[in-house]
């Protein structure tokens, strides 16, 4: 009997102890995202993962570590801005959001509305907001689990040392005051004392997170953002676990905290690569699809009085937008950053983002005229032509043979046409690609305006009632620098330029091949179209100077001409091979003319070569002239050409001699030597 009773007591004690133990050990799971930057694509996956976890654990939370806006026009240009995120986040049931610098990008009013309409708690401690722009946001919040565990969450936003505001445009934050991050954390140590765990939700970046951990070892965990750091295996620094989950919702962070008797006994973190997750929440997925196909992007934002055609006009308009938005003296835009050829009269948001699809920010520098010249010179190195379009400034590049980059001088004028003051500095807006890819000497390191070019252009087109007729505006010019001490070598009765080169022969091409034909006594002369420069031209009835030749024809002064003999059949095959390979008019000619036949898709299918009106004689042997560089490196016809010789004279000298002999270049160089025909 006694034995039986002891046994019963032992069982009861055993059960009691175990039940008590089970009750004491609590697992808390925190999922976290940071720097989503309006990338909504993976949010259905996030929702599914969180919901699944909630089925087996009642202590599951979802945190947002800031920078939700700016990065996707679907969200950024929605009306009201950011609304898709608000709708999605409410359905995803975020618990807490800490502010990031980009939360201010849409301005205070929109941020206030976002906070007020949300169903999650917004926190930020190092901010003083007397006018209530941040609505019901608080410095911190306390999470309480069903078991009574209290977890303090403190929100901190990065603050730039020089401006004392987060990285956004100053007008976005207005009178809101931001406090030092570390001082603010220091003042909140009481949170650790009053609660069972202390988590810092930090939008300060990895470097500052490590500094915070080293200074404040009483923090249990830092969940970070801002630096877009992908922390695959979170580590402890001074006993503080630091984690961060990349950016753009490519990864979802997961933290597991284990409490025993309300004491934090274990903390571990990991990230989930969402590209490998297949399951999606159907409701969220459907909504994302709807947002992506939303008509917002196709809405006409302005109707222009005229089309803006070509990169020059578009570039100038973009620069005007930058000047207006940033209130700077001038702006530059690179040709490569403009990805369309025109803007039609009716402009949509999508058109603007297609024109400039890169998320390039605007950077403002204070530059002297000489530093501006250095920027323009750098741009010329990229292709020997105008690459930077402008607003608030016009410039002329004077080119001359025998000078570095062919540039003799650059003349800068302000928007009124007055020469820039060489002793002052000007505020200059450029995009961050130019700021980092165009390496030029400057004192000022520059500062980001924290707004993308596409946003600025969208805003400019929406607000500006009358735009100048860009077609008539020429802000950049290449001019030939002519040494007045040298004598002209001849005169021209017609324009010498590359006009018409895309679809056939051009006067500059005919002139150089005529020079080869005449000076080297050949039957056929060939010159590559790609080596005739745009921008430089010699006007009708102007004198021709020797210095002009290497500026029109893209050659060094050393290049020469190769001559040799080929059968007519091989000549035809060679011209067809080159034209077909490039699928465009690639060869300028003299002594021969040719017709390119294309199919309906625009593909070259045949080239017919004629001498005068007759088809080239396949068996006859002709003497030809080629530029040496292309003949040796690209044409691949050495085995078909007999008696190959290189000229003594350079290309420039041959052209010079031809012009000197003729004294006047006539309209014969306007002859059409290349024809296009479509074949069905």
């Amino acid at each position: 009997m006694i034995k039986k009773n002891i046994f019963k007591i032992l069982i009861i004690v055993f059960l009691f102890l175990n039940v008590n133990n089970f009750a004491k050990e609590v697992k808390v799971v925190i999922f976290h995202l940071n720097d989503i930057h309006a990338h909504i694509k993976n949010l259905a996956k996030v929702a599914e993962i969180v919901n699944e976890e909630k089925k087996t654990n009642k202590n599951v939370y979802l945190f947002n570590i800031g920078d939700n806006f700016s990065g996707n026009p679907v969200v950024d240009q929605y009306e009201p801005k950011g609304e898709p995120l608000l709708i999605l986040y409410k359905l995803m049931k975020f618990d807490v959001l800490t502010l990031g610098n980009h939360e201010f990008d849409y301005g205070r009013k929109i941020l206030r509305r976002f906070i007020l309409k949300s169903n999650f708690k917004t926190i930020c401690a190092n901010v003083e907001d007397k006018n209530g722009w941040l609505a019901n946001a608080t410095p911190y919040t306390i999470l309480k689990t069903n078991e009574g565990i209290k977890i303090a969450l403190l929100g901190i936003i990065q603050v730039e040392k020089d401006t004392e505001i987060p990285s956004t445009h100053p007008k976005n934050v207005g009178e809101i005051i931001f406090r030092d991050e570390l001082d603010t954390i220091n003042k909140h140590e009481f949170l650790k004392k009053e609660n069972d765990a202390m988590i810092l939700l930090s939008h300060m970046g990895m470097g500052m997170d490590v500094t915070s951990a080293e200074k404040f070892g009483w923090i249990d965990l830092i969940i970070g953002g801002h630096s877009h750091t992908i922390i695959e295996n979170p580590k402890e620094y001074n006993g503080v676990l630091i984690t961060q989950a990349g950016a753009q919702a490519k990864y979802l962070g997961k933290i597991e905290l284990l409490f025993n008797n309300k004491k934090l006994i274990s903390k571990k973190g990991s990230i989930i690569d969402l590209s490998k997750v297949k399951e999606e929440n159907k409701t969220i997925k459907k909504l994302i699809k709807e947002f992506n196909s939303n008509e917002t992007l196709n809405k006409v934002i302005t109707t222009l009085p005229f089309k803006i055609t070509g990169k020059r006009q578009l570039g100038n308009m973009i620069c005007d937008a930058m000047v207006a938005h940033q209130s700077v003296d001038m702006a530059f835009m690179n040709s490569g950053g403009i990805r369309v050829g025109k803007l039609d009269k009716k402009v949509t948001v999508k058109d603007v983002y297609t024109m400039h699809p890169f998320s390039n920010d605007i950077i403002v520098f204070y530059l002297s005229p000489n530093e501006i010249r250095a920027l323009i010179k750098t741009s010329f190195k990229k292709g020997g032509k105008i690459d930077l379009f402008t607003g608030g400034i016009s410039y002329s590049v004077f080119k001359s043979a025998g000078t570095k980059n062919g540039i003799k001088k650059i003349v800068l004028r302000d928007k009124k046409g007055v020469l820039l003051n060489e002793s002052r500095k000007y505020s200059v807006a450029i995009n961050n690609y130019i700021a980092s890819a165009y390496k030029f000497k400057k004192e000022d390191l520059g500062k980001s305006a924290n707004i993308t070019l596409a946003e600025v252009v969208t805003e400019y087109l929406k607000k500006t009632k009358s735009l100048p007729e860009y077609k008539k505006i020429h802000r950049t010019k290449i001019e030939l620098f002519i040494d007045k001490n040298t004598k002209p070598i001849g005169k021209t009765r017609t324009l010498i330029s590359n006009k018409g080169i895309k679809s056939g022969s051009c006067s500059a091409g005919n002139l150089i091949t005529d020079a080869f034909l005449s000076e080297l006594k050949v039957d056929i002369a060939i010159y590559p179209s790609r080596n005739i420069k745009g921008g430089i031209k010699i006007k009708k009835n102007e004198n021709i100077y020797f210095d002009m030749i290497p500026l029109i024809y893209n050659y060094s002064l050393k290049n020469k001409v190769v001559t040799g003999y080929m059968k007519g059949k091989d000549v035809s095959e060679f011209i067809f091979k080159i034209i077909k390979f490039r699928n465009k008019v690639e060869l300028q000619v003299a002594g021969i003319n040719y017709t390119i036949k294309k199919d309906n898709t625009g593909r070259v299918i045949d080239v017919i070569c004629n001498i005068g009106n007759k088809k080239i004689d396949d068996n006859k042997v002709y003497k030809l002239a080629f530029t040496d560089y292309e003949f040796e490196k690209f044409y691949g016809i050495k085995d078909k050409v007999k008696d190959i010789k290189k000229s003594q004279r350079t290309i420039a000298k041959i052209v010079n001699d031809y012009i000197v002999k003729n004294t006047e270049i006539t309209e014969s160089i306007d002859e059409k030597r290349i024809h296009l025909s479509k074949k069905k």
Binding site: E160, K161, S227, H228, I230, E232, G246, N432, A437, N450
Partner: protein
């Protein structure tokens, strides 16, 4: 501000991202990273995205894919 890429000082505008400092450091290395042939790590051995914010005096390292 200044940062360090593979030990070399790079001066860059405030508000720059990783892509900016890579372009300033080396066009070639930038091309390799943007093509996915190489990655950028911070001084704590963490991978960083090309659009990640950079910090004054921070150290970054370019390495081949793991």
């Amino acid at each position: 501000m200044k940062v360090f890429v593979d030990g070399q000082e790079v001066k860059v505008f405030s508000g720059a991202v990783i892509a900016d400092i890579l372009r300033l450091y080396s066009d070639e290395e930038y091309a390799k990273v943007s093509n996915g042939d190489k990655d950028v790590y911070d001084e704590y051995e963490n991978l960083v995205n090309l659009d990640g914010a950079v910090f004054s005096d921070a150290k970054y390292f370019i390495r081949g894919k793991k």
